[in-house]
């Protein structure tokens, strides 16, 4: 049964967002703890809409500039994957740099496995076209294109990232399989139903309008194709809870400023948005325990001599970003921040 969803605009304002919908019990397979949190729609007047539009422009510009400035630094220290590593929970072994790189590859493989893409060879062969939404410098695209022998097209708001991604592809002799352009994930420059795999690895947190973001992902995925969203969320709200606690919201707000993030949502919110489209096999999981070693490792690398020098050279956005990292650890420790994966399939 389809859940009806009133337009949910989880937008970039400091007002607590809310949307109302009825989520009827469905026969969809989804394994996350179901939350019956209901939220009420805020109606927006013209002024508010205009303000939101301008702030969306400002956010887009901020994101582009942030990544223009910091991508080089990240690549120098961590390589071409700009996402968390996947670790065994409670792994206390302090990993080497290569251990962390391996964990980042494992994150890709675990995501593919969770979504069912790599369950059998027949499934894998069907993947001919991939879109990498929020592609960074193209680490995922190049990996996935290689793995599946498919074509991958990546989109990012940052021209610096797009250029670097294309250069790396050429250097790795993958230029024929992957390409990168500057485009907006909320207005993807593609016709409907083009991609067998729609990949969003840690880009969802930047999207100011989660409903529009999900709409676009669903629009561009081909019948039979899969959507994989791996993203930072806040914890699911409990029954009757309308919003996060003020201290929790405060913590997230401080992170939002330096990382150019709009309002956060929960894994449940994504599930509900997907449920409002006719999709199959909607699944989600909380991988917060599997990413725990990541931020401490990033901080350690930032505090090395090389890290500090590079930070100072990069600029204020990078420095502020680095100073915000302990807040990420605090957020995870206090159960406010969750690392979630949400996947689904479009029916044939």
């Amino acid at each position: 049964m389809k859940a009806t969803l009133a337009p949910s605009s989880l937008t970039f304002t400091s007002l607590p967002y809310s949307s109302s919908f009825h989520s009827s019990s469905s026969s969809l397979l989804f394994r996350c703890p179901s939350s019956s949190a209901s939220m009420t729609t805020t109606t927006r007047g013209n002024v508010a809409v205009a303000a939101a539009a301008t702030s969306t422009e400002a956010l887009r510009k901020g994101i582009a500039e942030f990544y223009n400035e910091t991508s080089g630094l990240w690549e120098e220290i961590w390589g071409d994957h700009m996402h968390h590593g996947f670790y065994d929970p409670d792994s206390s072994v302090q990993l080497s740099d290569s251990g962390h790189r391996e964990a980042q590859i494992r994150m890709i493989e675990e995501s593919l496995r969770f979504s069912g893409v790599t369950t059998d060879e027949e499934e894998e062969k069907k993947i001919k076209k991939i879109v990498d939404v929020g592609c960074g410098i193209g680490g995922s695209s190049r990996y996935l294109a290689s793995k599946f022998g498919a074509e991958s097209i990546g989109i990012t708001l940052s021209p610096v990232q797009a250029k670097r991604a294309n250069d790396l592809a050429a250097a790795q002799s993958l230029a024929h399989k992957v390409s990168f352009q500057v485009a907006d994930a909320l207005e993807q420059p593609f016709e409907d139903g083009k991609f067998d795999l729609v990949w969003s690895m840690e880009s969802g947190e930047h999207m100011p309008d989660k409903a529009k973001f999900v709409n676009e992902l669903v629009r561009v995925v081909a019948p039979g194709g899969r959507i994989i969203i791996v993203t930072w969320c806040h914890r699911n709200l409990s029954e009757g809870e309308k919003a996060l606690q003020p201290w929790e919201q405060n913590l997230l707000d401080r992170i939002c400023k330096t990382f150019y993030l709009p309002a956060w949502c929960s894994t449940d919110d994504y599930v509900h948005l997907l449920q409002s489209h006719s999709l199959q096999d909607i699944k989600c999981a909380d991988w917060s325990e599997n990413v725990a070693p990541f931020w401490p490792a990033v901080i350690r690398t930032a505090l090395t001599w090389k890290g500090l020098v590079s930070l100072l050279r990069s600029g204020m956005k990078s420095i502020k970003g680095a100073l915000t990292m302990p807040l990420m650890i605090e957020g995870y420790k206090k159960g406010v921040i969750k690392f979630g994966i949400i996947t689904c399939r479009k029916p044939l």
Partner: protein, 124 residues
Amino acid sequence: MRLITHNMLSCNIKGVTNGFPLRIEAGNVIEKEVDFNPDFIRHMFAKLEWKALVEGARSMGYAELPEDSPDAAVLESDESFLKKLHHALLELHLEEGALVCPETGRKFPVNKGIPNMLLHEDEV
């Protein structure tokens, strides 16, 4: 930007129903050699929008592709055709120029080989 990418891009301005294919205004086109991989070309053929490819190639100065999409059988037998397809899809680079929406005429700039498909506020 190569034609393999152009074959996927369309104009997403609000209200536009005919945003594909984008017309190419070629400013600077360069040729970069890419290793010929016949299997990859055959693999890609099925999902190509042929007319868009032919027109795009012509805009970039390459007119060797047939007007009509050939039979799949040609892919197996005719290596010279595969090579032409390989050349058009992968070896022609639009470094500077623009992609033009067929319905609105809106130009999306291409700089240093990268198309900028971002829409303005009044276009969404």
